[in-house]
Symmetry: C2
Subunit: 390 residues, 2 copies
């Protein structure tokens, strides 16, 4: 069943209905009754990953899957973990939602899919669409997509449309052209079925370490924070957990429509038409899921934080020196954490999980330049290394 | 315990002893007695990944881990699977061996580690060394390492030495300079402890689908084929399996010292000092583990196959259209499969697993060029998409 998050209107689930027919609001999938006999021990009889929790996902006969989810939870401090979503098949958390939404689309006979993207959604959609035998169209903001992500869309055979302007304009194109009349099925995060897959990120964290005190994550289009909060709400509703975590949402200085407004106590975001940050994956000025994000931050008694590009890069380098290769947007979680630590929001006793949304390989140009030492032959190489270690 | 694979000499395990003190041969770690009470059901109580099988790995107090292994086994045909190693933390199967070898090195008080690499080993070592708080040195063949891998070594803080010449020369440098006197611990695949971690690839396949009839994999330095065969031998020895698979080793036309010799019935490889192939990860002319590879191919009643660069690229594109993003070296498994299918080696009833060793993001320049459609504004974008779907 689907429910409008604005007016509360309820309607039967239909893959093609993606906004409220009454008020145009965003829809959310609701599980009416507690699925029979779900428990952590049942889940744990299955492979760790998105489909481990299938009773809490839309019923699919044959999932279109690449083995998504089940990503590492890497301990980097006494009570601090990083959920490393870069280890998903296409290198980002987007695969969690895509396996669910593409599976549903396939069951409904969809042949063509479309999305606007800063890159990760495009790469993921292209991969899952090709696995399902569908054609995919991606609309990208020109010159603002990281190299690795572009290469992925090409490898998975997507048709790429580059538009002059920001991500939000690309999304306008999708909103306008997608629908049953064109047969183009939209796979942006306004699609409630992607959120269903993404909520498994919350299940997996609890599955491994129970409910943490804080979850820190970047906010771009705000689909992920909405999904994670939904996951926790459902777990509580169905008796899988008793307490709830607080959420900390992090945005980049030049693209902080939600974080800035939330910090100022506003009820609506401060949209911008010219978002700027090196963290391309969260370079979004008009987040579609802003209402869900505000709800998640408020209900969880959470906080928002704003970080500069320099803080993001510093955080990426620091994570790199702990063995974690993440793209800049992902590093904003850690940058936000370092900033929040200075205040009195988080305590030393708090158990904190940071979400690292995508792999460093997605954006190789954001890595520090390679400063190599040149050697013409074996002897020279050996001598230079000896100098370095002496 | 360690045993020389050449002269059979046995000695006590010591992280610093990496070749036979009697004859200089390669060493292999041997588990003398069956570990108590191991079983698939015991393993399955643990997180899917390398350390699930800890009774069969060196005893480590505190593993240096990034959550490696537990990679997707993606079904691409009725009885055909791809083991997608690109979903490891640094994007290749190398992480399996690195977690074990770096853990051991750390327990032994090692401060500096070194390796020669075509890129994936370097990226993995740099990540695990940084996680363990060690300094890492990587010796790379100049201009022959894929972009993503270079970026990773920089992000994880390795010191990079680029040498004029092939991989094999870089390995000579490591052989000469590593040792207890310099304190530089070598993490190339001559290191028997990396093989220990890599053998878990075989365990994971069996854990999910039992013993397949064939395993097809690329051969570079031949560490992986050695490791996988060792994994199967141990599973049989300890009663975890009854039958064995056959192995098919694939090399690129311009770097086929093992495959060419094996096909010709020779007992030794046909080394080359000028290996050439776009599959940089297997551009190796003098594979260190050749003897183990010959043994694995022979004992398993397996085959070797040679594929051209064009066949590799075609196979990479085909896998891309199935949703699997792999680097060229990994695609050689599939290229080899397509070639072997034409002969009478494999039958339609055979259950086949191909190993895809590394992620497409490792080498974005090997992806097809992005042929995008440009649009100046929303209307133009919409019109162009409408044309495409009509």
């Amino acid at each position: 069943m689907l429910r409008c998050i604005q007016c509360g209107h309820e309607l039967k689930a239909d893959p093609w209905v993606l906004s409220c027919p009454k008020c145009g609001g965003l829809l959310s999938s609701e599980i009416k009754e507690k699925p029979l006999a779900i428990s952590w021990s049942l889940f744990r009889t299955r492979r760790f990953g998105v489909w481990r929790y299938k009773e809490l996902l839309p019923r699919i006969k044959e999932p279109v899957t690449l083995g998504e989810g089940g990503t590492p939870l890497v301990k980097i401090g006494k009570k601090i973990w990083v959920k490393f979503e870069g280890a998903n098949p296409t290198g980002s958390f987007k695969d969690r939602g895509m396996t669910v939404a593409v599976s549903l689309a396939k069951e409904s006979g969809v042949k063509n899919v479309i999305c606007a993207s800063t890159g990760n959604t495009a790469a993921s959609m292209a991969a899952y669409a090709s696995r399902a035998g569908m054609r995919s169209f991606v609309v990208l903001p020109k010159g603002k997509v990281a190299r690795g992500k572009l290469a992925q869309t090409a490898l998975h055979g997507a048709i790429v449309i580059e538009i002059e302007g920001p991500f939000d304009l690309a999304l306008d194109v999708v909103r306008e052209i997608a629908g049953p009349d064109t047969g183009l099925y939209p796979l942006n995060s306004l699609n409630p079925w992607r959120i269903e897959g993404q909520k498994t990120l919350a299940y997996e964290v609890v599955d491994e370490i129970g409910v943490p005190d804080w979850i820190i994550l970047p906010i771009g289009n705000a689909g992920n924070i909405s999904a994670i909060w939904k996951g926790f709400l459902e777990m509580r509703k169905f008796g899988l957990i008793r307490r709830m975590p607080k959420l900390a949402g992090v945005q980049a200085e030049g693209a902080a429509p939600i974080a800035r407004a939330f910090k100022e106590g506003r009820k609506e975001p401060l949209f911008t038409d010219n978002p700027k940050t090196i963290a391309t994956a969260i370079r979004i000025g008009r987040p579609v899921n802003w209402a869900k994000a505000f709800k998640a931050l408020r209900e969880s008694q959470g906080v928002a934080e704003i970080v500069s590009d320099q803080e993001i890069i510093d955080a990426q380098r620091k994570l790199g020196r702990m063995g974690l290769g993440v793209e800049p947007a992902s590093a904003s979680s850690y940058a936000g954490y370092l900033k929040l630590l200075k205040g009195d929001v988080m305590g030393e006793e708090d158990r904190i999980v940071m979400i690292a949304t995508g792999h460093a390989l997605k954006d190789p140009d954001s890595s520090p330049p390679v400063e190599s030492i040149r050697a013409l032959n074996k002897e020279e190489a050996i001598n230079k290394i000896k100098e370095l270690i002496s």
